[in-house]
Point group: C2
Chain length 574, copies 2
């Protein structure tokens, strides 16, 4: 701390000067002693300087309301909001989240360090602490076709950046445990810093090898049994409640039943849409839900604050105590956790919520590059044998492999011969992924069940993790129309029905983010989602988010990539 600031704070702490701001009559949750204390909170220069009997130049009477430190989202991606990242930060901050641990994985996969720098720049002046974990898997795996490749060398420039805390979620578990030298170089580069994990479905032995590489967190645990296996190896488990993946209920149920300590747990959203944040809250939603299931309010607050701060080495974040940043939330109760006031660095955030996008580098506005498409590449022969169909699972981003005989029809080829080909029937649709970064012409085609789409196609350039163009449809014509529409708009979401584009949400920034306001994007998205549900998508999923995970080869069990259908468990193209 600069000496001048320290002296001002020390004088206020010692009551030699009045504090700049005093929050009077607070019930303060002390995350160190597990007690709730009555007191006044003195703040000077954005820092808490004391708890006790203080007078301030400015004073706010909290009338006995509860105060905790601002909550921490221990792991999230900002790109999934599809609007300027400031929007999510501002919305979540209203709900009491004042620290964000961001993994710029999507931007990095499309645009490398330029994408990461874009997010760092856009979030610089947020009403919250926004820290970054540098994307470790760009491309996500060796079988991915991403827009950029990040090696340890490109990452070096982030070492020493105060807003960079470590290495982002290491998805390529096998590169780690097999000792891939390129992966090792990244792990070594971030030696002594935090390395986030992403490790669903590993065996005990694989998980041990993975942890041994120095990877200390995971947010992918979806069962109590699995997270306790991770905990027993010392991992910190981020309990996730996002828009798509919701793991809290199963994990917390187990913790409560077994009366486990909650020391190694934090909360995260991973990917949460702004409308969901507006509707139910952000990390305060995780806390509220955990408390409703039987976690003590103080334990839940610790998970949302000091434990996440300690996990990421943030020494001045996560507690209402002298020397900590004055990130403070006034709550209605320790049951409902509705934020009444939010302070970031000692200032009420109300005046800092206006979105002020910064200029976008031109190269991020032109990232969709498709080769000429040969429609024949979309055809799947139906030979009467079982075919590895991607089975979508309600409320999950996991998939299951279903080997079934595809519905088929007989067509006559150009040479006059008849052949039996896959004919989607709305129960089993066609899925295709088009490489879109370097116009390589790679197209992977497969079959998918559970999406239920009839009479059209739905496509997206948001498609984890490489963000190629992914499309599901029940006929090839609409599939191609959808892909060409996204080529035209430089990326986005589109719905095609009976040969016509119904509507398109353009996402021209990296094919991930809109240059329009949140309300514009939100209105259009609502309309498009309603349409998607009318076209048969079940209400157990979000049409676009669920679609966007179907090309992701790091989550079991089976995916479609630009190189073809991929069995994640066997780690091979089929």
């Amino acid at each position: 701390m600069k000496l001048e600031k320290y002296i001002a704070c020390s004088r206020a702490a010692q009551k030699l000067d009045k504090a700049e701001l005093v929050l009077k009559n607070a019930k303060i949750v002390n995350v160190f002693t597990d007690r709730v204390e009555d007191g006044n909170i003195a703040i000077t220069k954005g820092m808490i300087v004391g708890i006790g009997d203080f007078e301030g130049i400015e004073e706010i009477d909290l009338k006995g309301q509860y105060v905790t430190s601002g909550f921490i989202d221990a792991h999230l991606h900002l790109e999934s909001t599809m609007v300027n990242p400031q929007v999510l930060i501002s919305q979540a901050a209203r709900h009491g989240t004042t620290t964000f641990i961001v993994d710029p994985h999507e931007a990095a996969n499309v645009a490398g360090t330029v994408g990461i720098d874009y997010l760092l720049d856009q979030t610089k002046d947020s009403p919250a602490h926004v820290y970054f974990m540098i994307a470790s898997c760009v491309p996500a795996t060796e079988i991915d076709d991403s827009g950029a490749i990040l090696t340890a060398k490109e990452m070096e420039k982030y070492i020493g950046n105060r807003r960079v805390l470590g290495l982002g979620e290491v998805m390529d578990c096998f590169a780690v445990i097999n000792g891939d030298p390129k992966m090792n170089a990244k792990l070594e580069l971030f030696d002594g810093k935090v390395k986030d994990g992403h490790a669903p479905g590993l065996t005990d032995e694989q998980l041990a090898a993975y942890v041994m590489a120095g990877i200390t967190t995971d947010h992918e645990g979806s069962s109590y049994h699995y997270v306790m296996k991770e905990r027993s190896m010392g991992m910190t488990c981020h309990i996730r409640e996002g828009s798509a993946a919701r793991n809290l209920e199963r994990i917390v149920k187990g913790i409560v039943e077994h009366n486990d300590n909650t020391e190694g747990f934090c909360f995260c959203t991973d990917d949460k849409h702004i409308e969901d944040i507006m509707a139910e809250g952000d990390i305060n939603f995780n806390v509220r839900k955990a408390v409703s299931m039987g976690i003590s309010p103080i334990a839940a607050v610790k998970m949302a604050t000091i434990q996440a701060a300690r996990c990421y080495g943030l020494r001045r974040t996560g507690a209402v105590a002298p020397g900590f940043d004055a990130d403070l939330v006034v709550w209605d109760s320790l049951k409902d956790f509705n934020a009444q006031m939010v302070f970031y660095n000692g200032e009420l955030i109300n005046d800092r919520l206006k979105i002020r996008p910064k200029p976008c580098p031109p190269e991020l506005m032109n990232t969709v590059h498709l080769a000429e498409i040969d429609p024949k590449k979309l055809v799947i022969k139906a030979d009467g044998k079982p075919f590895p169909v991607i089975g979508m699972i309600p409320y999950e981003i996991l998939t299951e492999r279903k080997d079934v005989v595809l519905p088929s029809t007989v067509v006559t080829g150009e040479d006059g011969t008849e052949e039996s080909i896959f004919a989607p029937n709305g129960e089993i649709d066609k899925i295709a992924v088009f490489e879109r970064h370097h116009a390589t012409g790679k197209i992977g085609v497969g079959a998918i069940s559970g999406f239920g789409l009839k009479g059209g196609a739905i496509a997206s350039s948001v498609s984890h993790d490489s963000h190629n163009i992914i499309v599901i449809g029940d006929n090839d014509r609409d599939i191609l129309t959808a892909v060409r529409e996204l080529e035209r708009t430089g990326g986005g979401y589109t719905i095609v029905e009976n040969g016509e584009v119904f509507d398109t949400l353009a996402l021209p920034i990296m094919g991930l983010i809109s240059d329009r306001s949140y309300s514009t994007v939100s209105k259009k998205l609502k309309k498009m989602k309603n349409k998607a549900y009318k076209m048969g998508i079940p209400k157990t999923m979000d049409p676009f988010i669920s679609l966007s995970f179907m090309a992701l080869p790091v989550i079991p069990e089976i995916r479609c990539t630009p190189r073809g259908i991929f069995d994640v468990k066997k780690w091979q193209l089929l």
Copy 2:
């Protein structure tokens, strides 16, 4: 981790290769889940690679005995052993302490970075991890007369040293909270690293200001009330059981009575003599005592292992889990905590306990430099008014100020006038401190009660923190004889009786450490302590250790320094 090592460990973890060593049939304390698990511990290249059903090239059957990670002494000084630092490390390691957080404060005060480097060098190949916190207060305070001055500039060379974890105990609390620029420069130099505290007796406001400077630990807390004040501000409290200061009982009693969480507590010895370690153990003694008072064995083990490791940012220390250093202790029970086997980096330490001193730099062998002594400087006039006497307190290094009229006698001066001077009577003795580093001739003289010495003088060049020559006696002749004896030997302990040197333990290395074996030193020390007790020193103190703290101006309430009597509370020379 180097890739070659990682691959070997990963292969063993995945059971593709046999582990190098497997400890079979262990009851393993898991500090993450708070459970005791039955299992085998697989070890390769000094690292734990897995817990479970493993086979090893070498196997040891533990027959159901308990295993924890090696214990951590969160704060200690090695110089107080007065022998080569390897001796303490080896002895404590036998009792299951495998990680030491060392503050080379005494060596630094005598010999600056040369002294620190000596300790780093001597402990390099120990059968334990020996980490250093760089002494922050050299001299301890502005009113100290030390042998060396360490500014931030001299400390820079330690940044980046893997064995240096941060800044050593910051004793000069007022330099901190008053914003002294030299202190601030040191705190800034270690920004992002751990900064150890030393903060007894501060008010709430002072402690808040101190913590705000980023100082996060304290080992000086001697009451439950005080450590809970520190805990409420987020400090980690090291519960100390040393040879002189024993704080565990009072603190643990409070924790147990109030059912407090033990998350922010560790254990330390601070200063523990080798004979005490041999007699009662090291950190396992703290653990045993805490458990006997009602702390759960698992909570106590966590305080002695993972909590200390986390406090100091040691990511691979403190747990029996994959990826952690194979520092393991096999215990007889989780009640008695007698170490049956100790492994450091996967090797039984038995073969590594031989002491192999490394050469000592010549400048460290010649550090006692006294000016010509004018005996008149020892005289204290007795004017019949109350005199600020240093009151020693049984079992404590704290002192209390007692303003009493000194016993006196009338003498005739050279000019024939009579004057009344202080005449020690065994209840109130004379204390004197002679500057010995730069031959400045400074001599502080005072009166002390509670030492009870009759018929001689006891002197030491070990005298916290500046290690000038301190002496207590009941007559000036013996006081001078004792000081001259230590000048002759280059420092040490000496006892003078009726004008004759009874015996001297020479400590020629910095005036702090002997160049002889432990058994030689120990035998002599025993003899000398027995003599001291016979001369009147009460059994409620260790004659030499208690003596060595009487010049220390950072512990309340009153001390004698080369500049005179010092009131710690008022922070002024009297």
